[in-house]
Amino acid sequence: MKNKLEVDSVFLEFGNRRILSDVYLKCETDKIIGLLGRNGNGKTSLMNIIYGNLNCNSKSVRFNGETNFKAYKKPELLMYLPQFNFIPGSLSLKRIFKDYELDFKDFENRFPFYKSKYKSSFQSLSGGQRRIVEIYIISKSKTQFVILDEPFSHLSPIQIEEVKQFILEEKTNKGFLITDHMYQHVLNISDDIYVLANGKTHLIKDIIEIQYLGYANLNINMIK
């Protein structure tokens, strides 16, 4: 079954500063949606609004047409990877995988480094290793949609390629909304790209629009 997540009518102000005013975003099963935007343009705020963690002046978040203001109460609908490490350091990988009802064997087959780490605590891993565990448990869990906020930060180039491959495989089961300033990786795997600029989302039809909207200076090879 194809699930659909739609977000619109989002209006967010911090004091007198308008952050989000004209947002439309659609994500479906088997699609990866990339969300790009300059720092402070409201990407993380928008993700928190979709997740239900941030109150705003108005919003409409619909899962298969049904409005849900507190998506975090229903992990079967949506899971969220924040841009920082969120797993308590004292937990072992064994505990984490049990909590999220995932098979550690599948994980270590994909990432052999973790073979001897089943009983290790999360805090004993390096920053990149922790991030891979977090991306894996969020992306692999039984949920309809996944939001990934800066998944590629702190990862080595090889790890990024592994994660991209894993996300591409997993998208057959769910929809992804991804933001990261390593935008070339986001462009590589995304089916649709939105740029958030001046409080509005712009669905990109031609890659050159990313430059017109002031997000990045594309090199000539990318445009071709």
Binding site: Y72, K73, P75, Y80, N85, F86, P88, D99
Partner: protein
């Protein structure tokens, strides 16, 4: 069952400070008697608020771990508060039986 374990796990991360406060409250009640109960009660409430506001900011990032498992902030804090207060009530109600507090009597003003 899984939810209870997760709630306990959250509380386990910082249970020591509020528990020590409850033990101290019990010792104060042992030394000063029931006339000090009101003061001790408000001492516990005030320290609870201080500890919990500190933990709420210190462990803010970890809340996502539980939210992604369907347990919101409100549930986590309600459980932690309730359990902490339960231990406080037990320790306070039994304070007169804790004879090992008797060494404190010589410091009584």
């Amino acid at each position: 069952m899984k939810k209870i374990r997760l709630l306990f796990n959250f509380y386990k991360g910082f249970f020591l400070a509020p528990l020590l406060i409850s033990i101290a409250s019990s010792a104060l009640l042992f030394v000063w008697g029931m006339e000090a109960f009101t003061m001790i009660f408000w001492y516990k409430i005030a320290t609870m608020l201080i500890i919990y506001s500190f933990i709420n900011s210190y462990k803010r990032k970890e809340l996502f771990y539980y939210q992604n498992l369907g347990i919101g902030k409100l549930k986590l804090w309600f459980f932690a508060y309730s359990l902490d207060f339960f231990f406080f009530v037990i320790l306070i109600s039994q304070s007169q039986k804790f004879s090992f507090f008797s060494f404190l009597l010589k410091y009584r003003m």
